[in-house]
């Protein structure tokens, strides 16, 4: 009667065997020191940070910074071009990250101004005339969106490179659905403060010519310019972390435009300066080296400010033409020099970052969670086993076998698809037991009903499975719909829950219907007189 029975049994044995090998066996092998082949070890079930221990950080990329940089650069280019074209304007002001204003365009030079301005700004900015010879330049919305996107992407790549340089095993750096947020997960990291500092430091390196200073007072510097700094210059503070003598903050007047920046760096590595103090040695790419050679050659005897994140780290005198190599020293400790060369190598961040969320799970806490998860799973399973045996007698065994296969395939499939088991995922695992056995309950109750209607055992079993199938499909689809939205909503741990629950539900359709029915068929084929213990 059941001619395909042999094939069905074989299918089940192979499926369960395979998933047991890739899912459950590696866990047992690790616990009881059994041999574990490398390919199984490499693909074993991944544990989330909440179980393994580690750092979970959510950062926001302040994309306004990137827009501001673009607007500043554009307005400075416009200033240069107006100067060389002899078009006098009274002022150029940055009003917002996406907007700047030019004031005092002489009426007789208006058309020349517009021509010069359009050459530089027309692709990215809209130009609006204001009253009194002023113009407002506003960034085009599409450009603004692109720049924000780019800033986040670039930040993501930079963080990725920096974290890789940190040498963390299996880090995860991912963009969050909120657009400007980035999730960084560092398993097993203990020095949270250092990791955060390295990820966050913008590391924007610029070389700017010093026009005046240093001086310990901003006002003294301003006096040299009659209280009004020329538009192309700015005042920067010297780095506070100067080794040794504490002289208070120093100020420099520097040119706003930096001919050479960190983007021109080819390598950066920690080393020592001539006084045997920690320093960072760098080499420039060819384009940067050319510009650096021109800058240093034309300005011998002047001072060059090395600016890191808008602070003057040091301002050495240009003794001669320098092309492709240089050194940054400024009272660093060895670790500071190491970290600085790391961040310089990995590239600058296009925008500053803000930490929104920080979670640290110590390894002990994770182990506690795993232990309670295992105890809860074992207890849940035991309670269900007892109930099913008492209530459904031998058919209960059928349901229990199906349930255990369900759990084995669930773990194996999670390992296979590379899903992550989290603490809420354990809850999903335990819940799968309760919900999974429900499918068998529905089937058994239907079989009882058919038996009560005086049908034969075989007919009752067939009717039980076939009639309940659609009901089960409906309940499982409904549950999967909500699990899908849960996955969409959640981050890390909650996604682990949604994944575990979804995979558990799908596997359950296979085990509660195909496996259970095959077990019945196996049982009935062994007997002459069909009988059912239910």
């Amino acid at each position: 009667m059941y001619k395909n029975l042999r094939w069905k049994v074989l299918t089940i044995i192979i499926v369960v065997g395979v998933f047991f090998t890739i899912g459950v066996y590696p866990l047992l092998a690790e616990r009881y020191h059994m041999p574990l082949p490398q390919y199984l070890k490499a693909n074993q079930l991944k544990l989330g940070l909440d179980l393994k221990g580690g750092v979970h950080l959510v950062l926001r990329v302040n994309t306004d910074d990137a827009l501001k940089l673009t607007s500043t650069t554009t307005s400075e280019q416009l200033r240069e071009s107006l100067r060389s074209g002899n078009i006098p304007v009274t002022n150029i002001v940055l009003e917002a990250p996406t907007r700047f204003r030019v004031e005092g365009v002489p009426p007789d030079r208006d058309s020349q101004f517009r021509q010069a301005a359009d050459e530089i700004t027309a692709t990215n900015y809209n130009r609006n005339p204001l009253a009194g010879g002023a113009y407002e330049f506003t960034m085009k919305p599409l450009i603004e969106r692109d720049l924000r996107e780019q800033a986040v992407d670039q930040a993501l790549q930079t963080i990725d490179r920096r974290v890789n340089e940190l040498g963390v095993a299996e880090p995860s750096i991912a963009r969050q659905p909120q657009g400007d947020q980035i999730l960084v997960q560092l398993p097993g990291v203990t020095d949270v403060a250092r990791a955060k500092e390295i990820i966050r430091s913008t590391a924007i390196l610029e070389f700017k010519l010093v026009e005046a200073g240093p001086s310990s007072s901003k006002d003294d510097l301003l006096k040299q310019y009659n209280g009004q700094l020329p538009g192309e210059m700015e005042i920067l503070q010297g780095s506070a972390e100067r080794g040794g003598t504490d002289t208070g903050p120093l100020y420099y007047v520097v040119r706003k435009i930096a001919p050479v920046t960190g983007q021109d760096l080819r390598v950066a590595r920690p080393g020592l300066d001539e006084n045997n103090q920690p320093a960072v040695h760098f080499e420039l790419k060819s384009g940067g080296a050319q510009r650096f050679g021109k800058l240093s050659g034309e300005n011998i005897g002047r001072y060059l400010a090395i600016v890191l994140d808008n602070r003057v780290v040091s301002a050495p005198r240009l003794e001669g033409r320098i092309t492709d190599q240089g050194r940054i020293s400024g009272g660093f400790t060895t670790e500071m020099a190491n970290d600085l060369s790391l961040t310089l190598r990995a590239g600058a961040l296009p925008a500053s970052l803000t930490y929104l969320e920080e979670r640290v799970v110590g390894p002990t806490l994770g182990q506690d969670s795993i232990r309670s998860g295992v105890i809860a799973s074992a207890t849940g399973l035991a309670l269900i086993v007892v109930f099913m045996l008492v209530y459904y007698k031998l058919s209960g065994v059928n349901a229990i076998v199906a349930l255990i296969f369900n759990l084995v395939i669930l773990i194996g499939l999670m390992a296979y698809v590379g899903a992550t088991m989290t603490l809420p995922g354990i809850a999903g695992f335990v819940l799968t037991m309760g919900v999974g056995v429900d499918s068998n309950v529905l089937i058994f109750e239907r079989i009882k009903e058919e038996l009560a209607a005086q049908r034969g055992v075989r007919a009752s079993i067939n009717a039980g499975f076939s009639r309940v199938f659609l009901t089960l499909l409906d309940t499982h689809v409904a549950a999967l719909i909500s699990a899908a939205f849960l996955f969409q909503f959640g981050t890390g741990p909650i996604r682990g829950f949604a994944t575990t629950l979804s995979i558990g539900l799908m596997v359950n359709l296979f085990t509660s219907i195909f496996v259970s029915k095959t077990i019945y068929e196996l049982e009935l084929s062994a007997r002459k007189e069909p009988a059912l213990s239910i």
């Binding site: 969670s369 309670s372 207890t379 309670l383 009901t471 409904a478």
Partner: protein, 323 residues
């Protein structure tokens, strides 16, 4: 074995009482939420949690004293034993986090650490911490609500396609009912709303459909075989026929969730509690609420045309046996 042999309770007769009782619980819950607010976990309100492990179990009062001295707003900190006493762990929750700007998010956590170290309470080690700035919480609330609404809409459409609109409305109303009752009970017991609890609530959205769909399936089957009966009778017969399985399926899930509540550890307790409430109200609502809504929506007229099952034509019309 049966829980009930041929049950014949008149559930439909009691539907108005059931609806009234549900309203009482929901309104009471809303009043509590309105007056006292829904307590929120750090994910939603922002704040700092530090979990410390000591050499010996410390005196909670001493920890509290150390915090009120060393941490701004430390007097309002929540200090609890974390996990079983053997783990010698204490959870400290302060309602503030360092400023988001300037990268000092963890400032409060460090103050907590320093204050407790200073108090000399037996070699405290920070084993875990969780710091959430205020922006994240607001976004989460919106996204949690949206996810629930979309999940409900998805299920509404699915059931409307597989059954008919009145069934879909009944199922969704029953589920919304379950969510409101669960929120009300959470508010009564002052459970902090955390991500895990939101996960439980979304799980209930899917789970509470299960019993309802099982009963609806039987109603649909009986509508075909009991064409002469009115809808109230058909619904009542169906609910009675399904009574055993409604209780058993709820019960097995309950067994697993109780195991989770008792042994699953501190973090999953709220999740398990929410699921326990959800399973109870889900079972209750599929018996009393979902079916009642179908009756109300369809009116009291006798069934005209039975909706066809999408697949597998009925074998032969059978009389329902349980009445």
């Amino acid at each position: 074995m049966h829980i009930f042999t041929n049950p014949n309770f008149n559930f439909v007769k009691w539907r108005w009482h059931a609806i009234a009782m549900s309203w009482v619980i929901i309104i009471a819950g809303l009043v509590v939420i309105w007056t006292k607010g829904m307590p929120k976990g750090v994910e939603f309100s922002g704040g700092t949690i530090v979990i410390l492990q000591f050499d010996q179990n410390p005196n909670i009062e001493q920890v509290r004293g150390a915090l009120s001295k060393g941490v701004p707003d430390g007097g309002n900190a929540i200090v609890q034993q974390y996990g079983p006493p053997a783990s010698r762990q204490v959870m400290v929750r302060v309602h503030t986090a360092g400023a988001e700007a300037g990268g000092s998010l963890s400032a409060t956590a460090e103050q907590v650490d320093a204050a407790i170290k200073k108090a000399n309470l037996g070699n405290p080690q920070v084993v875990g911490r969780e710091i959430v700035g205020p922006t994240v919480g607001k976004e989460l609330q919106t996204r949690g609500t949206l996810a629930t609404i979309f999940a409900l809409a998805g299920i509404l459409v699915y059931i409307a396609v597989r059954f008919q609109l009145s069934f879909a409305v009944g199922a969704v109303v029953a589920t919304v009912h379950d969510l409101l009752i669960t929120l009300a009970v959470l508010a009564f017991f002052r459970y902090d709303l955390t991500l895990n609890i939101i996960a439980a609530i979304l799980t209930i959205t899917g789970y509470s459909m299960n019993d309802t769909i099982v009963i609806f399936d039987r109603i649909r089957e009986n509508m075909r075989s009991m064409r002469r009966d009115n809808i109230e009778h058909i619904v009542n017969v169906s609910v009675n026929q399904m009574l055993d399985r409604t209780i058993i399926t709820g019960g097995t899930t309950m067994l697993s969730v109780i195991a989770l509540y008792l042994f699953g550890g501190e973090v999953l307790k709220g999740f398990a509690f929410t699921m326990i409430v959800g399973i109870i109200t889900g079972t209750y609502s599929s018996v009393f609420i979902a079916a009642a809504i179908v009756i109300i929506w369809q009116g009291r007229k006798p069934v005209k045309a039975a909706p066809a099952a999408p697949i597998a034509p009925a074998k032969k019309p059978r009389r329902a046996r349980a009445s």
